[in-house]
Amino acid sequence: MIGCLLAACIGGTPLPAQQVAVEEFTLPNGMQFLLVPRSDQPDVVSAGWVARVGSVNERPGITGISHFFEHMMFKGTGTIGTRDPAKDARYRAEQQAVRDEINQLVWTRQYDRFFKGEIDDPWDPANDTQQLRVLRGRLDALIKAQQGRGAGGPDAGTIVKDEFDQVYTRAGGSGMNAFTTYDITCYFITIPSNKLELWAWMESDRLHDSVFREFYSERDVVHEERRLRTESTPTGKFEEQFDAMFWASSGYSWPVIGWPSDLNSYTFDQAQEYWNVYYRPKNLFGIVVGDFDPVIAKQMISRYFSRLVPGDREPPPVVTLEVPQLAEQRMIADGDFPPGIELRYHTVPAGHVDSYPLDMLAELLNERTGRLFTGLVEGRGIAATAGAASDTRKYAGLFAVSAHARGEATPADLEAAWYEELARLQDADVPDRELRKVKNRLAAENYRRLESNMSLFIQLAFAEAILDWREINDAPAKYEAVTAADIRRVARTYFTPTNRSVAIYRRQAN
C-alpha cells in the first residue's frame, strides 16, 4: 500500500515540485499535530489521527488485535455511548468474567477434543459442552441486557447505540471511517469548517476515555468482515496463504484481520495492555487539512488534546528481521479465477536508498505504454491485464508483478515472458526518453495528489507514520535523481531466482 502512495509522491522534472506547507507542533503530553490550511475546497475540513501501530506490532495469539481496536474505537466512552456509565461498567466486568471462563474452557477442554479428533472446530458453538452452553447463554443474556434487549427490557439497558456516529452525523460529518494496515491505524472524517471544535471534543474524548464496549459481540462483526473480504472472494484466502509463505520471520506474515482462532481469543486484559502501550499521546499524531484558521485550530487542539495522559511505557521495538530467502518458493492455487501469476521479490523498507529506483521501476512497467502492457498484453498477446507494485513498508519491502492470461496462454507463458522483460531491464539501461516519460508522469502526479484534501491527508498519514511527513516534499527530488544505472542495479540486485516467490493461479474445472 505504501509503495503505491510513495510512488504517487514522485516528481521533479522541468517543473518545480509543489511543496506542501505543513504547520507542525507537539503538545506537552507528546502528541504531535500536522496542520495544512488550504481553501480550494471551501467550508470543509478533513481531520483525523494516526496510531503508530499495525499488525506488524502483534504476535501469535493476538494477531488482528490492532484492527479489532479500530472497531472498538467507535463504541464510545464514559460519556458517549451510554446513559449510565457505572452500570455499563458493571455489565462489562460481568461479561469479562464469563468470557474469560469460556476462553479457558475452549483453550483447554475444546482444543484438547479438537486435537484428538473428537470435534471439527473448538470454537463452533455447535460443539459446546453443557458447561460451555450455559456460560455462552449467560454471556449472551448479559450482552442483550446491556443493549436493552434482554431481561429487564429497555430500562435495564445502558448502551446508546452508535452515539459516536450519530453526533457526527447530526453535525454534517461525512466519510467517517478508519483503516488498519500492517504499519499504521488511521481514523478520519470530513466535517464542515465550523465544526472543528466538535472534532477536537469527540476525538480527544475517545482517546482520553475509551471504553471497550461490546468487546465480545463485535468480534462476530469482524468474523463477518473476514468472510466478506477473505473467504468469500475468489482469491482472498490464497493471497493470505501467499503472504504467510512469502514472509518467513517478519510480522508481515499474518493477515491484518488476524487468524480466526486469535480473533476469538483476545481477552480484555490483553486489550487494555495494548491500549496502554500503543494508544498513548507520544505514539499518536493528528492531521487537519482544509479550510480553517490555523491559529484557532492550534488553540482548540491544545485545549482539548492536552487532556490525554502520557503513558509510562515505550512501545517495544519491532526486533525480528526478515531472514534472507535461500530458495525459490512456489504455490499453486486452483479456484474460481482466470489463469494468472504473481511473482514477488523481497526488497527494502520505505526510505531505503534503493526504494526510489524500485518505485520508478514499477512505474516503468505500468500504465498503457509501460513494458508489461506493451510486452505482455499487446506484444506477445498473452495477458489480459498486467501490473507491478513496489510495496515498501516500515520494516521490509516487496516487489510484485502480476498478470492474468488471455486466450490459450498459460501461467507458465506469463512467467517466461516476465523473465524476458526482466532480462532486458538487467542487461541494458532504460532509454533516456522512457525514463523522462516516467519522470514527467510522476511530476504531474505530484500536483494531482493535492487535488483533494483527503488524498493529501492519507499521504501525510503514511509518510509521517513510516518515515517523516517531510518525505512528501523531499521525495520528488529523490525520484528525479534516479538514473538508468540505478534502475539496472536494483533489477540485478533484488530480482534473483532464489529471492522470488511465485503464485500460480489456475481456473478450477466446474
Binding site: L15, M176, P192, L228, P338, T369, V377, G381, R406, A444
Partner: protein
C-alpha cells in the same frame, strides 16, 4: 441556520474576518475553562453557504455548444470533461455493450493523424490522463493535464474524439481482453448478484441489464463502432466543462477554434423505459461461498417525483445513514450478523430507479437478517419514525449539503447533469428548505406507497441448502418469506449467459 447553537455575541456577527478575531480572543479566555461536558454544549460559529448558480459559470459557443468554466489557480492543472448524451441506452438489440466498446476504442484505437501506439506515447510523455467511458445514459470523455501542456494535450484529445481511427489490431486486442474479462463473470459472487439483480429489476432485455456475450463481442465490427461514434460524439450532443488553471477568455477562444468545422448532428434520443415488471418473491442463484449475499428491493421513483426528498430521508433512516441507520444498528451492531448492511435508492430521470436493502451474512443467519429488514420495512409503514431519527436525518442532509459543491470539477458536474436533464433552476437553492419541511407523517405515507415489502424481490446468492434452514436458535428461516416459495435461478455460462446445466 437553526442547527447551530451559537452564543448571542457570535450570532450577531456576520463578517468572517470579524468572527475570526473574536474567536481568537474568546478562545484564549476559554483555554482555562473546563471542557464542555458533552458535544451539545459546544457553540459553533455560523457557516453561511449558498449553492453556486449555474448561470454564473455558463457560456454558449457561437455554434451553440454549452460550456461551463471555473478557473482556479491553486494548482497548475486543467480538468476538461465532455459529457455526451446517451450511453448503454443507445446499444442496439443484440449488441449490448456496443456503446462501451465504442468509448473504449475511441480511447485506444489511435486517430486519423497518429497510429495508436504513437498517440499513447505522446499523451504519456505529456503526463496527460485521458479517459472515455459510457454509463447507462451518458458517455464522458475527460482530460487532466498540466496547464503548460494544455495546447498539445487538447489537440490530441480532440483528434481522438473527432477522428478516431479504430485501429484493427487494437480492436482485436481489446476484444480479446474483453473476452477474458467476460470469462470472469461468475468468479465473484458480487458480480453474479449485480447481473441477476438487474435482470430481475429491469428485465433481461433492458439496456441497463443486458450484458455482452462472447458471440456479440466477436461479431462487433469496426463499422458498427464507427456508426455508434457518429451518433454520440458531435457538438449537437455534448456539454463541455473545464476547471483549473486557465484564463476564461483564452479558454473560450480555444474551444471556439476546436469545435469549428465539427458538424452538429441530432441530439441522442432519451433512454427507453423498461417494459418488464419486477415480480415479488424469493430468488436464489447458487454459489459456493461461506456467506450469503442478499438484496431486497423493488422499482422505485423517477428523480422529479414529489416524493423524492421524503424517500431520501426515509432511506437515510433505514439504511443509508451508516452506523446511525436502523439496518446497520440492528443487523451489525446489535446482532453481529453482518459487516455491513445498507439501503440504496436510485432515481432515474426518464424512468423509475430502484430501492434495495442489502447485506452479507454467514449462511445460518441470512434468514434472520432478512427478517430484520422485513420488520424494519413494515415498521416504516406501520409506525411513525421517532422525532430524533427524522431530526438526525434532516441535519445530516442539510449539513453535508455544501459537499455537493466542494470542488470545482464536482460543481461543474452538477451543472452539466442539471443542464442535460433540465432540472428546475431553483432546485438546489430550495433544497434545504424542502428537507426541513418534511414531517414524520410524510415519511409514513411515502413508506406505504414505495416501500411495501410484499412488493419486493429477495435475491440470495450463495449455498441455498446451508441458508434455507436458518439459525441454530430457530429465530428465522427462509421458509417464512412469500409462503416459502423460492425461484431457483440458474447460474449462467459466463461467456454465453445461457443457463448452465
Amino acid at each position: 441556520m437553526r442547527l447551530l447553537r451559537p452564543f448571542p455575541v457570535r450570532l450577531a456577527l456576520s463578517a468572517g474576518l470579524l468572527l475570526i478575531v473574536t474567536n481568537r480572543s474568546s478562545l484564549a479566555a476559554e483555554a482555562t475553562l473546563p471542557l464542555p461536558a458533552r458535544p451539545e454544549a459546544i457553540a459553533f460559529p455560523p457557516l453561511a453557504f449558498e449553492p453556486p448558480s449555474a448561470a454564473a459559470f455558463r457560456h454558449v459557443l457561437s455554434e451553440g455548444t454549452v460550456v461551463f468554466l471555473a478557473p482556479s489557480h491553486e494548482l497548475p492543472l486543467i480538468n476538461l470533461s465532455i459529457t455526451f448524451k446517451g450511453g448503454r441506452s443507445l446499444d442496439p438489440a443484440g449488441n449490448p455493450g456496443l456503446a462501451s466498446l465504442t468509448a473504449r476504442l475511441v480511447r485506444e484505437g489511435g486517430t486519423a493523424r497518429k497510429p495508436a501506439a504513437e498517440f499513447d506515447e505522446e499523451l504519456d510523455f505529456l503526463a496527460t490522463d485521458v479517459a472515455v467511458s459510457a454509463t447507462d445514459t451518458f458517455t464522458t470523455a475527460t482530460m487532466n493535464c498540466l496547464a503548460s501542456t494544455f495546447d498539445d494535450s487538447f489537440r490530441l484529445f480532440l483528434d481522438m474524439l473527432r477522428e478516431p481511427a479504430f485501429d484493427a489490431d487494437r480492436l482485436e486486442t481489446t476484444k480479446a481482453r474483453l473476452l477474458a474479462q467476460l470469462a470472469q463473470r461468475n468468479d465473484d459472487a458480487t458480480s453474479i448478484m449485480g447481473r441477476e439483480w438487474k435482470r430481475l429489476a429491469f428485465g433481461p432485455d433492458h439496456f441497463s441489464a443486458a450484458e455482452p456475450t462472447a458471440a456479440s463481442v466477436e461479431a462487433t465490427s469496426r463499422e458498427q463502432l464507427q456508426e455508434m461514434h457518429r451518433r454520440i460524439f458531435h457538438p449537437g450532443n455534448m456539454i463541455v466543462a473545464v476547471s483549473g488553471d486557465f484564463d476564461e477568455a483564452t479558454m473560450l477562444a480555444a474551444l471556439e477554434r476546436a469545435l469549428a468545422g465539427w458538424s452538429r448532428g441530432p441530439e441522442a434520443p432519451a433512454p427507453a423505459a423498461p417494459v418488464a415488471e419486477l415480480k415479488p418473491g424469493v430468488y436464489h442463484v447458487p454459489k459456493d461461498i461461506p456467506q450469503g449475499k442478499v438484496l431486497i428491493g423493488k422499482r422505485s421513483i423517477t428523480r422529479d417525483d414529489p416524493d423524492d426528498i421524503p424517500l431520501t430521508l426515509l432511506n437515510e433512516i433505514l439504511g443509508a445513514g451508516g452506523f446511525t441507520s436502523r439496518l446497520m444498528q440492528k443487523i451489525r451492531s446489535n446482532e453481529g450478523l453482518a459487516y455491513s448492511a445498507r439501503s440504496v435508492v436510485t432515481a432515474n430521470v426518464e424512468y423509475p430507479g430502484i430501492f434495495y436493502a442489502g447485506f452479507e451474512s454467514k449462511n445460518a443467519t441470512v434468514a434472520l437478517a432478512t427478517k430484520i429488514v422485513f420488520d424494519e420495512l413494515r415498521s416504516l409503514s406501520d409506525e411513525l419514525v421517532t422525532e430524533d431519527e427524522l431530526e438526525t436525518a434532516k441535519k445530516s442532509l442539510i449539513e453535508t449539503f455544501p459537499r455537493q459543491f466542494e470542488s470545482k470539477p464536482k460543481t461543474l458536474g452538477v451543472f452539466v447533469n442539471d443542464e442535460w436533464t433540465k432540472r428546475p433552476a431553483d432546485y438546489w437553492k430550495t433544497f434545504r428548505d424542502k428537507v426541513a419541511a418534511v414531517t414524520r407523517e410524510d415519511l409514513r405515507r411515502v413508506a406505504r406507497k414505495h416501500l411495501d415489502p410484499a412488493e419486493m424481490a429477495i435475491l440470495v446468492v450463495g449455498d441455498w441448502e446451508a441458508i434455507a434452514a436458518g439459525d441454530l436458535d430457530k429465530r428465522a428461516s427462509m421458509g417464512e418469506f412469500f409462503d416459502g416459495k423460492v425461484t431457483h435461478l440458474p447460474l449462467r455460462d459466463p461467456l454465453t449467459l445461457e443457463p448452465l446445466e
